[in-house]
């Protein structure tokens, strides 16, 4: 529960800060950093008299379930650390591994795809096909980076990866730079900022899969998206940056990592679908192959 509250607050605040940073880059004033909380509360207090069938109601629920399950598995802090609040964040860290995580991180998008399909909105269908194509694109370098790590340390447990980095004292982003670069390139697609915002392109697709969802549906999607962003950032910090000893370090590390897709996105236009897929199957996959070779040989 503490983890969920933390993830919600941190994810929403990051979203607000990103809007502020985007505005400053555009030479605008921008909304306050707590704007996302106001938006979420307003969406929750709207009526949601939209009915397209059972699957449409389940779509946002699937998203939320996927976010929470992956949040439970990813260790937020280093297990066995000495902070007094460390025991609050020990969820199911020991029982989940990377292979299950790869599966469960896709589950939410698939659930949303089913829900969006039932709305019958053509924009939703186009958004879903684009989203799944893009996912096929970035999942390959992402899995390659993870496989490289798994091969070189003969484990799939995230807790083990943190412990390895604690023992050797070197972050995996330095000892396995190729895997890290591959994962970062895949992360650009995972966060769906420009130039990979082809799924929910607001002016082009009318926000794609979420176009028939207002009110509480949109609130659920928004909060699950915030939680999921936190999960992904925490996973990257755990795998490549040695985990976090306390919450301050966690926030610093995740924020630094979050700025990569955000700042790259602000100054980028949007790719077409086939350009995005070609991007991911080009250099990121090649570097991923090199990373696997490096892991096998050394």
């Amino acid at each position: 529960m503490a983890t969920f509250v933390l993830a919600f607050i941190v994810g929403m605040t990051y979203g607000g800060i990103v809007r502020k940073i985007t505005a400053r880059v555009h030479n605008r004033m921008g909304p306050p950093f707590y704007q996302n909380f106001i938006d979420a509360f307003k969406l929750y207090s709207k009526t949601s008299a939209i009915h397209h069938g059972a699957m449409h109601f389940l779509g946002p629920a699937f998203l939320m379930v996927s976010s929470i399950v992956s949040l439970m598995i990813v260790p937020v802090l280093i297990p066995g650390g000495d902070s007094w609040y460390n025991s609050w964040f020990t969820n199911m860290n020991a029982s989940g591994d990377l292979i299950f995580l790869i599966y469960i991180m896709v589950f939410g998008s698939l659930g949303l795809a089913l829900g969006a399909g039932q709305t019958g909105n053509p924009n939703s269908s186009i958004g879903v096909t684009r989203g799944l194509s893009q996912m096929v694109g970035f999942e390959i370098p992402w899995v390659m980076a993870l496989v490289a790590l798994m091969i070189s340390y003969k484990t799939t447990s995230i807790v083990d990866f943190i412990n390895i980095q604690q023992e050797t004292g070197t972050w995996l982003m330095f000892s396995h730079p190729l895997a890290f670069i591959t994962a970062i390139l895949a992360m650009l697609g995972m966060f769906r900022y420009s130039p990979f915002d082809i799924v929910g392109a607001p002016t082009e697709l009318a926000s794609g899969p979420v176009s028939e969802n207002g009110g509480k549906f949109l609130f659920t999607m928004m909060s699950s998206g915030s939680v999921f962003a936190f999960v992904k950032l925490t996973l990257f910090v755990d795998l490549f940056m040695g985990g976090a000893e306390n919450l301050v370090i966690l926030v610093v590390k995740t924020f630094a990592l979050y700025m990569i897709p955000v700042l790259y996105g602000i100054v980028s236009p949007r790719y077409r679908t086939e350009q995005a897929v070609r991007f991911f199957w080009g250099w990121p996959t090649f570097i991923g192959l090199l990373a696997i070779l490096y892991a096998v040989i050394f």
């Binding site: 909304p31 307003k42 939209i50 924009n123 969802n213």
Partner: protein, 183 residues
């Protein structure tokens, strides 16, 4: 539930505060007024600092911004868009054309007063209203929301027959066949 000043509960006050600071606008930009939306949203006038941002679809929007004149043909679409929006929902009539027809007042196929077909909360006068005037209109809407007086959606529900009759006068066949939206 009418939401007037005297009967606002504490929950209403908090909700209205959130609604006031988070206005998602669906710009119905078939009139010439749509040209003023871009400078209002971008860096010179920056409406996002007031919490105003664009919404992609009617389902997500709070405010329907009708920019400029409406022909008999487009008013049907506006009604359809308005009925798909989720309440609480507001309408801003933008430019003189929505008030009295503006320079198209004697045209055979434009409507003169938008308020006869859908309930307008705030009018912004001018031809064209500058971005300052647009932001002034939004601030006026924020005041009305905070005071609980912006209940056009409730007015539409209460006087549905009157609005439907007015719509049927200009588009009789369309109103008879119009599907029922679940608002």
């Amino acid at each position: 539930m009418y939401n007037d000043k005297n009967s606002q509960k504490i929950v209403d006050i908090i909700q209205n505060w959130a609604r006031k600071h988070s206005i998602w606008v669906l710009a119905y930009g078939t009139g010439c007024g749509a040209i003023e939306i871009a400078p209002t949203m971008t860096s010179r006038y920056d409406a996002e600092r007031l919490g105003i941002r664009g919404a992609a679809t009617p389902r997500q929007a709070d405010v329907l911004l009708v920019t400029g004149y409406l022909t008999v043909k487009t008013v049907k679409r506006v009604v359809r868009v308005y009925e798909q929006m989720q309440s609480p929902k507001y309408i801003i009539g933008f430019g003189s054309c929505t008030i009295n027809g503006g320079m198209y007042y004697d045209s055979y196929n434009t409507i003169n007063l938008l308020d006869k077909y859908i309930p307008v909360d705030v009018y912004i006068n001018g031809c064209m209203p500058r971005p300052e005037a647009v932001i002034q209109g939004f601030v006026k809407l924020q005041q009305l929301i905070a005071e609980g007086k912006a209940n056009g959606a409730q007015k539409y529900l209460d006087n549905l027959e009157w609005y439907k009759a007015n719509q049927a006068k200009i588009a009789p066949k369309w109103i008879a066949k119009a599907p029922d939206y679940n608002w």
